[in-house]
């Protein structure tokens, strides 16, 4: 059978896992095998959702190890389950957690793992397409082995429940290998401070080399605040010490999903582009009309950020005041 590793998102089956379940159902139909699911701890409440996606058995991985996340133990537990039930494929969402647990489980079973896939076709070998460099390139590849591990890039598959839900049974599996494993333990959690998170902000006002200095970002902060958004930046701004790395948009920074991305003095190198290409619309402010981000943007203003931004701020504030009065 195929096994889907289910990720918990505040007590529910995560969106990414629903996409993975949809992919698994299609592959299982082609291979003529059932779909099982695995979840950690007491997650019996997942059964109804999983049945709606065609899962026939839910395996709950239980034991003292499941109380707190440890990548080594959870990966080893999954590997043990995979061997025990004889799964021929394991699928999860390509979240940081999904990629980490699958990497551990595939390493322990000695099998190959294709991360960040966008399409998968099952057969003797699986033919798949995966994303490289955060979306810079697509790689067509063949995946071989007795157990095939695959993670699915978020958004690659439209989640689809079955018209008639599958009857589902739940059992529990207590692994043995976790008892003796050398492993890390989570010892502390600190919640994020206030403020709009870059990855989920509706509007991101971002600056690059063209902003020129740390002080230059003040007007970007003002605009972000006015629009209820977050401030972002390019790697040049980070490496120059103008902004903290947590503001960096791109391949080695954060991938954003804003409705509007305002890029000020950013050229749009591929490594930056892959971080902002998920925005619904992009406005580039740049002195160079040929800059890649200008030619790829939906809207552009050609000009010096130091002149354009203060003017935008002034007009936007005036407009807001009029609206406030009206």
């Amino acid at each position: 059978m195929l096994l889907v590793l289910v990720e918990d998102d505040s007590g529910a089956v995560s969106g990414g896992s629903q996409e993975a379940l949809t992919l698994a159902h299609g592959l299982a139909t082609d291979l003529n095998v059932p779909v099982h699911a695995a979840a950690f701890g007491t997650r019996g409440e997942f059964a109804a959702t999983l049945g709606a996606y065609g899962v026939s058995t839910l395996h709950l991985l239980e034991g003292p190890f499941a109380d707190a996340y440890s990548p080594e133990c959870w990966g080893a537990a999954l590997a043990e389950l995979v061997r025990h039930i004889g799964a021929i494929g394991v699928i999860a969402a390509a979240s940081e957690w999904g990629n980490e647990v699958l990497a551990h489980a595939s390493a322990r079973t000695g099998e190959a793992f294709a991360s960040n896939c966008v399409t998968v076709d099952a057969g003797q070998q699986w033919s798949l397409t995966r994303v490289r460099g955060g979306g810079m390139l697509l790689e067509d590849a063949e995946l071989a082995g007795a157990v095939k591990f695959v993670s699915l890039t978020p958004g690659a598959v439209e989640p689809a429940e079955l018209p008639i839900p599958q009857q589902i049974t739940t059992d529990s599996f207590v692994p043995e290998s976790t008892d003796t494993l050398v492993h890390s333990t989570i010892v502390d959690r600190k919640s994020r401070g206030a403020g709009v998170a870059l990855s989920t902000a509706r509007v991101v006002v971002s600056g690059g080399r063209g902003v020129g200095s740390a002080e230059g970002f003040e007007s970007l902060e003002e605009l972000a605040e006015l629009l209820g958004g977050a401030v972002g930046c390019s790697r040049v701004a980070t490496n120059s010490g103008w902004r903290p790395h947590s503001d960096q948009v791109g391949l080695t920074g954060t991938k954003i999903a804003a409705d509007l991305y305002i890029a000020c003095g950013i050229s749009g190198a591929t490594q930056h582009w892959v971080g902002c290409m998920g925005a619904k619309s992009i406005l580039a402010i740049n002195t160079d009309p040929e800059a890649p981000l200008v030619t790829r943007a939906d809207y552009a203003v050609i000009g010096d950020v130091h002149q354009v931004l203060p003017a935008i701020l002034e007009r936007a504030r005036a407009r807001k005041q009029v609206q406030g009065v009206a």
Binding site: Y69, E72, S115, V182, H183, R192, A269, A300
Partner: protein
């Protein structure tokens, strides 16, 4: 403490990435190369840890002979020794085997590394697994996505910090341990002239371990489809402000 950093030589394309004629790799003839940003931070962290706790930093890369350039860069940042594992493929299982074998050899000569650092994923291929495979083979704890390292007690354990959507998680791992780190861990230094001169002359060790191919085989690389569109130029300089505010109003954000 003895720290090992595993780094990767990656292409540094500016604009569009070109593909070789046979379609299986990036055309690097006109590209510069760099050390992966995650790994550059790993080298910086190792150099800082050793400055604080004493010890020795070894950098290791699996790659073509040209990856010597990235090893020397790491040496110029302050690493003490460099090892080149001659290994051409991007195959994550084969790469992990090559690294594991080399680490076993190095450790059999001089003792265990207390800490082995990897980049969380390589900037070019991004398989998200090589460090974890090596750690599993060596039976050591490993945590990924690390943006903070505290060596609380250099003979017993290390604290590893990582971010998620809700905040920060702190893991405790017994030493010897492995961590896969991310850019943002620190701000890497620019090598000094002295460092560069020292690195230029430093001897490097080269090893050629035997590996078998793993189960993931690249067939071809493709450009992602680019959506065709026109850029609407809202205006030039400060005069564009009104049109921009119209756009912000239309988008419902002001």
């Amino acid at each position: 403490m003895r720290v090992l950093v595993c780094i990767k030589r990656v292409p540094a394309p500016g604009g569009k990435v070109l593909i070789t004629e046979d379609g299986t790799d990036i055309d690097t003839r006109h590209l510069g190369f760099t050390i992966g940003p995650h790994e550059e931070c790993a080298v910086e962290e190792a150099v800082q840890l050793v400055a604080e706790h004493g010890g020795h930093v070894t950098v290791l890369t699996a790659g073509p002979p040209e990856a010597e350039e990235q090893l020397r860069y790491a040496l110029s940042m302050g690493a003490n020794a460099g090892v080149l594992v001659e290994h051409g493929a991007h195959d994550p299982q084969a790469t992990a085997t090559a690294l594991t074998e080399t680490i076993r050899t190095l450790e059999s000569e001089d003792g265990n590394f207390d800490l082995i650092l990897f980049g969380n994923e390589s900037a070019d291929v991004g398989n998200y697994q090589v460090g974890i495979r090596v750690a599993c083979a060596l039976e050591r704890p490993v945590v990924g996505g690390i943006k903070g390292i505290d060596v609380a007690d250099e003979s017993t354990h290390v604290l590893l910090h990582r971010e998620n959507a809700d905040g920060v998680e702190v893991y405790q791992a017994p030493l010897p341990a492995v961590a896969a780190v991310k850019e943002g861990l620190n701000l890497p230094r620019y090598p000094s002239i002295q460092g560069r001169l020292r690195a230029k002359k430093a001897p490097l060790r080269t090893v050629q371990p035997k590996t078998a191919p793993g189960g993931l085989r690249t067939v071809q690389l493709r450009q992602p489809p680019e959506k065709q569109h026109e850029t609407v130029v809202l205006g030039y300089g400060a005069d564009a402000a009104d049109s921009v505010v119209d756009l912000l109003t239309e988008k419902g954000v002001v």
